[in-house]
Symmetry: C2
């Protein structure tokens, strides 16, 4: 396969051309999970500076094609998982950005053996228990979302109702337990409200809800929580700005 050099007179930026080349490489010879050429190799191969290589890789990372790991390398993202890159914010921070005041009502706290889907998401051994934290999230005093968080008991022994009743679970983990949040995989899909959800959220049964679900990880890749949150469709719009 011929590998044409980058065109330095093109109206397309070098890093953009390079990103296209790497994307082609991925499609043609690098299966999901495989390691891409290192930055220094790409520098030598295409005769560009390191910053330009890093710009290209960053673009692909934002587009969900690759994942970079310090000390290890850059890897092709798992297929069917070609996600968009976003920033992780807590419910409280999310509401603050929308100009709303966040509030929480604890509906239940229990130690349970989780469903398989959640045990898998948290990479638990069979029989390991989790805290199930069931909360109603309010915005400006009105019900906004219903969230259930699952946290491995082994990681947060002695969790009490007091600790989760008032505020952000993220802040608890980060500020009081010294854990450093890393990243989260989330999926969003529409559902319709069942009777219990409808009553708690104060909407008619079968109203549209938006379900956001997935595990969160610490910086060292340890799964720390699995969250399932159902937002009221009439109050919560997920808004984004997409650039080409």
């Amino acid at each position: 396969m011929l590998d044409y050099p980058l065109n330095r007179n093109s109206f397309e930026a070098l890093y953009y051309q390079l990103a296209e080349k790497i994307r082609q490489m991925i499609h043609q010879q690098f299966p999901p999970g495989s390691k891409l050429p290192s930055e220094s190799e790409l520098i030598g191969r295409y005769h560009v500076s390191r910053n330009t290589v890093r710009q290209a890789i960053k673009l692909l990372e934002q587009q969900g094609y690759v994942i970079s790991r310090r000390g290890k390398g850059t890897f092709v993202a798992p297929v069917g998982n070609r996600y968009q890159l976003m920033h992780l914010v807590s419910f409280s921070e999310d509401m603050r950005r929308r100009g709303l005041k966040a509030d929480t009502r604890l509906l239940g706290l229990a130690e349970i053996v989780p469903l398989e889907k959640i045990a898998n998401g948290l990479q638990l051994q069979p029989g390991q228990t989790v805290y199930e934290i069931h909360r109603l999230r309010l915005a400006d005093g009105e019900p906004m979302a219903l969230s259930t968080a699952y946290v491995p008991c082994a990681l947060v022994p002695g969790l009490t109702a007091d600790m989760v009743a008032s505020g952000s679970l993220f802040e608890l983990l980060q500020d009081r337990l010294g854990m450093r949040l890393g990243y989260s995989d989330r999926s969003i899909r529409p559902v319709v409200a069942d009777a219990s959800q409808a009553e708690l959220l104060q909407v008619p049964v079968a109203s549209p809800l938006m379900m956001v679900e997935g595990p969160a990880f610490l910086e060292n890749d340890l799964p720390i929580e699995y969250v399932v949150t159902c937002y009221r469709g009439d109050r919560y719009n997920f808004v984004f700005h997409a650039v080409r």
Copy 2:
């Protein structure tokens, strides 16, 4: 207000500290839409290199706090619009990433005077008409989404069914009409299928759907289309990877 210098011995990166400072500035003294200090001013004020300043601003841009415009400056994003930054992809590209084959069936093409919401989104003068392009989008031969696009007639005179029947509207605008797509504002919310949507998408009435809606703009900020797309909730999951 005292303005402490950045801490060069902190475990937090300089660009991260600077981003926090700028975010504080935004909350305290810069209303939405106002112009932030220029890059060169931030360089002088905090004694860091331009790349570090740009890293900080890029982070805030990805988090939806600011918008940078070449030649003009960097501005505080409109509040209540504090979006997440994503990458704009066409339906075809989106399906390709998911490993599915995209297909399209044209359901209708008409020249109409649009509803007010759409006329506003496209910044039309009263009475200006749009092409209404109604299409069923298929993935691997199965109905996936129902989309209605509105394009100002003045911008694409003489649009025919042939031109939109087969493929991507984005590709038509970009490759055949030489327009350069810039960005898009999208909102996502859950809805339930009405009778006509249910039949076309081959799902039961009142099934959950995901409605994605909003205008798209050319590079020069000219509105080029307003799209309303309803995805089947059972087939389309919006997945993302969020980092801290």
